[in-house]
Symmetry: C2
Subunit: 192 residues, 2 copies
């Protein structure tokens, strides 16, 4: 069991509806030593892969992506999220993502000049559950004519199936903690 899995078992809280609360170390409080380890671990797992830029999405992906960028020595671009109507001007890529957590459709937005055709992009995010955020980020990478070379995820909810569907389509996904079962009543978690 790795450091993130151990921490999830110790401090994560399972709630009804496949919700895992990790605010104590991942997405409200940030444990910087854990972030540091995750950054290094992504670098190790994607060793040898050419990466020109890391793409993540606000807010909870930013800390992990920043530490990953620190070890990959590449810039980090974070997509902005906005539930309100966005002026669709010519200088932005936009894709929609429905947030099941907040029950709202977010517009995911990246300024065009910050993502260039041909750039090799590694996506980093805190959670992969239903795949809505990853689908939006993939769409933006495609709109830019850039190339998605890999996906690094902190916590994948494997039982929701999106990760395996992406893998079946040839996407390379590395999840540091891949959960196959969670039980809110007993607060138990089974990793793959």
């Amino acid at each position: 069991m790795n450091r993130l899995e151990e921490r999830i078992l110790r401090d994560g809280v399972v709630k009804e509806g496949n919700v895992l609360k990790v605010g104590g170390f991942l997405n409200h409080v940030i444990d910087v030593d854990l972030m540091d380890w995750m950054g290094q671990e992504f670098k190790r797992r994607f060793e040898g892969l050419q990466v020109d830029k890391i793409l993540t999405i606000e807010s909870s992906g930013i800390a992990i992506a920043t530490m990953a960028g620190h070890y990959f020595h590449v810039p980090v671009l974070y997509a902005k999220k906005n539930p309100r109507i966005v002026t669709m001007d010519d200088d932005k890529y936009v894709a929609d993502a429905f947030s099941f957590t907040h029950k709202v459709t977010n517009h995911v937005i990246v300024t065009k000049s910050y993502l260039q055709p041909g750039e090799k992009v590694l996506v980093i995010d805190d959670f992969l559950a239903n795949g809505a955020a990853l689908t939006a980020l993939s769409s933006i990478i495609e709109q830019a004519g850039a190339e998605l070379v890999g996906v690094g995820i902190a916590v994948e909810k494997g039982m929701q199936g999106a990760g395996d569907r992406f893998r079946a389509n040839g996407m390379r996904i590395e999840s540091l903690a891949l959960i196959d079962e969670m039980d809110a009543e007993t607060n138990t978690i089974k990793f793959r």
Copy 2:
């Protein structure tokens, strides 16, 4: 001139209405080497100060605070921002902050258990302009019975006066780039 000031002169864009665009390196694209320098520089400027926790606010404060946390070796807590009505339950501190950028009042929210009475808190943020975010964060620290020991800012818009008002009240603020004048027509910036 320091690294951040040089970068602002090179890649920052001044717009009408005292707007400084720094999306190319600070709050859309993140230049991780610059973040690393800022983290170290805050550590150097606050050397000897006891800091138990760093507090910032989503989204653009997170990357800077994460690198600062890396050098201070303390956890980073980021306050969440929500323009919609928040259920005022007993487990959250809430303060309001009007965003002049987005013309909306944000509820700034921190889960109570993540900020303890007596903790010495260093606030880190990307911008200090009219002081709305800093006022909200100070209020949350006060609500928690914690202690604000210092404020580290990347870019302070000195001409808006909020920073100097806080300093006059005894707040210790370290701004890496303190701008006294900006001119959108000529794209010139004067640092203090």
